[in-house]
């Protein structure tokens, strides 16, 4: 459908106003909110992810697209809820204690939302106990931990231990990421997955939830 393609294009270009206008028009003409989400927003954000990977888009441009996506999601949400459309799953994300880097984590959050997941973002410098409480409160399917420092990546281990001790480990899948961490580190600390970048993070989350 041409209008859905227009929506995706406007999203890729980061035109928030145009994305809102097109979303409203599509809703008014009776297009299913789920279709707008899948063929407009998710399709558009997939292209954004690709362009980021190939170096055609950088963070400022991606943030514009993200803000356009949020504008549209805000309009779609009441309709999605009304029609009982479920999100693909809830993801809880945060940068671990002592670490003030959040640019990469936010990018992962954007791409997960762009792929149809619901995001609860705890921000940065998040102590293990706060993760535990938030799991209890939000009951996410997946918990994403981010760390950019060699020293703070050790707090991922502490966080997983706290989740374990609270008896919640079997209720969530845990995925980790950030420049100093690796698949091996993920294995060592008992995480379920690792991804190198935001696009791979989406694939990994899908894979974990399919398993």
């Amino acid at each position: 459908m041409r209008e859905l393609q227009d929506l995706a294009d406007a999203l890729i270009n980061g035109y928030a106003d145009r994305v809102s206008k097109l979303t409203n028009e599509l809703l008014e003409t009776g297009v299913e909110p789920q279709t707008i989400l899948n063929e407009g927003l998710i399709a558009g954000m997939t292209v954004v992810g690709e362009k980021m990977r190939t170096g055609e888009m950088y963070l400022p441009e991606v943030l514009q697209s993200a803000s356009a996506m949020h504008a549209s999601l805000k309009l779609l949400k009441p309709h999605l809820v009304k029609e009982g459309v479920e999100s693909r799953g809830k993801i809880l994300m945060g940068t671990v204690k002592g670490d003030m880097h959040d640019i990469g984590k936010n990018l992962v959050g954007i791409m997960l939302q762009g792929a149809g997941f619901e995001l609860v973002d705890l921000g940065l410098n998040v102590p293990p106990q706060k993760f535990v409480e938030a799991i209890g409160m939000h009951q996410p399917a997946v918990v994403g931990l981010s760390a950019m420092l060699t020293t703070t990546m050790l707090n991922m281990k502490t966080t997983i231990e706290a989740i374990n001790n609270a008896g919640l480990r079997s209720k969530v899948k845990i995925i980790i990421g950030g420049a100093p961490v690796s698949q091996k580190f993920a294995d060592d600390i008992g995480a379920d997955g690792y991804a190198r970048d935001a696009v791979k993070a989406v694939d990994k989350v899908k894979e974990l939830l399919a398993a």
């Binding site: 400022p60 441009e61 002592g98 003030m100 640019i103 921000g123 020293t151 100093p180």
Partner: protein, 355 residues
């Protein structure tokens, strides 16, 4: 007295390995410049939050760094990037007790929220505001002890990274697209802050190192680097030259291969080739333009790295120099708690292998 230190430091600089590298001359071995900030606190068995606010411990930490590491220059700075932002009013989070977390600007403590705030930005007084006087005092003390041993440089935040701290990183990235003229205004302000702080360092007899990693192509496109960052950076470096410093290092982390042309156009004669950047391209272009560059080895696994792997990594880095006299051996930021033995190992490799 500062004048005397300045002269001594300048005389020493003339003979230093670093100066040789900057001027394309070979030395007995290549210069050794590991990136040591939070690790300074480890050297005095304390935490970054404590040491970065205590002039006595801070000074001791630098003297300990000199003894333990034996680098070819010292840099005044632990939580680099915070000092200028704090001096103009941003809030920095420090940690209590034995918590070794590294202080950083509180994302909720930035000082620029919208266009109307631009009129409220005021230049800091390096003699009074925030921890600028503390850093300058530490510089003076270290120069008094070591000024005739090796170059001492003050860490100065580059215009883009400072703006990111005043505005919040993502907010600034958004503004580059929605309000480019405002970003240019903000960068003009950051430039003035950097000039003030650089001038204060030069006055006590130090060199300066500019850090601007938030302008890395890991984040910002090469086109945006040119549009926003190049001009104020050039002006900062011209200004520092006008203060009588010939050699101005500009440190931008991450893979900067895509901005190498602009990086060289800044006028910095001593740049960073992080471990992920293309060393061949750096060597080629630096040799054509007569610049020095510091090549980093990766430090992400330094806490657990074996002696053998460390040696192998260092040798690989040395090989990458291919005898280029402007090659400086460096490291990524050394993680807090790195075993002090690592530095002796690296020095030995340099000694044996990099002559």
């Amino acid at each position: 007295m500062p004048r005397l230190f300045r002269i001594l430091n300048a005389i020493y600089l003339m003979n230093s390995r670093l100066l040789n590298a900057c001027e394309g001359r070979a030395s007995d071995r290549m210069p050794f410049l590991p990136a040591i900030y939070e690790q300074k606190a480890w050297f005095v068995h304390s935490t970054p939050s404590i040491v970065c606010r205590d002039p006595e411990l801070f000074t001791q930490a630098l003297l300990a760094e000199f003894e333990i590491v034996r680098p070819d220059a010292l840099t005044i700075g632990i939580d680099v990037y915070n000092v200028e932002a704090e001096a103009v009013g941003a809030r920095v989070i420090y940690y209590d007790g034995e918590d070794p977390s590294i202080p950083a600007v509180d994302p909720d403590g930035t000082i620029f929220h919208g266009e109307e705030d631009i009129v409220n930005l005021r230049l800091p007084d390096p003699q009074k505001d925030g921890r600028m006087p503390l850093h300058l005092g530490v510089a003076r003390r270290v120069l008094a002890k070591l000024g005739n041993e090796l170059p001492v440089r003050g860490a100065v935040t580059g215009p883009f990274s400072l703006a990111a701290h005043l505005v919040g990183a993502e907010h600034l990235f958004m503004l580059t697209i929605t309000h480019p003229a405002l970003v240019k205004k903000l960068l003009r302000f950051s430039l003035e802050v950097a000039k003030e702080y650089s001038a204060a360092y030069v006055k006590v007899g130090c060199g300066v190192v500019i850090f601007d990693s938030q302008a890395s192509p890991e984040i910002l496109s090469p086109a945006m680097y040119r549009t926003f960052v190049l001009e104020p950076t050039k002006r900062l470096i011209d200004f520092i030259h006008s203060l009588g410093l010939r050699h101005v290092p500009l440190i931008i982390g991450g893979n900067t291969t895509k901005i190498l042309d602009a990086y060289l156009e800044t006028g910095a004669n001593n740049i960073l080739c992080d471990f992920s950047a293309d060393v061949e391209r750096f060597r080629e272009q630096c040799s054509v333009t007569g610049r020095a560059f510091r090549r980093n080895i990766d430090t992400a696994d330094f806490l657990t790295l074996s002696r053998e792997d460390l040696i192998a990594r260092a040798k690989k880095c040395i090989d990458e120099s291919r005898g280029y006299p402007g090659f400086i051996f460096g490291t990524g930021v050394v993680p807090f708690g790195t075993p002090v033995g690592h530095f002796a190992i690296l020095r030995n490799v340099l000694h044996e292998y990099a002559r």
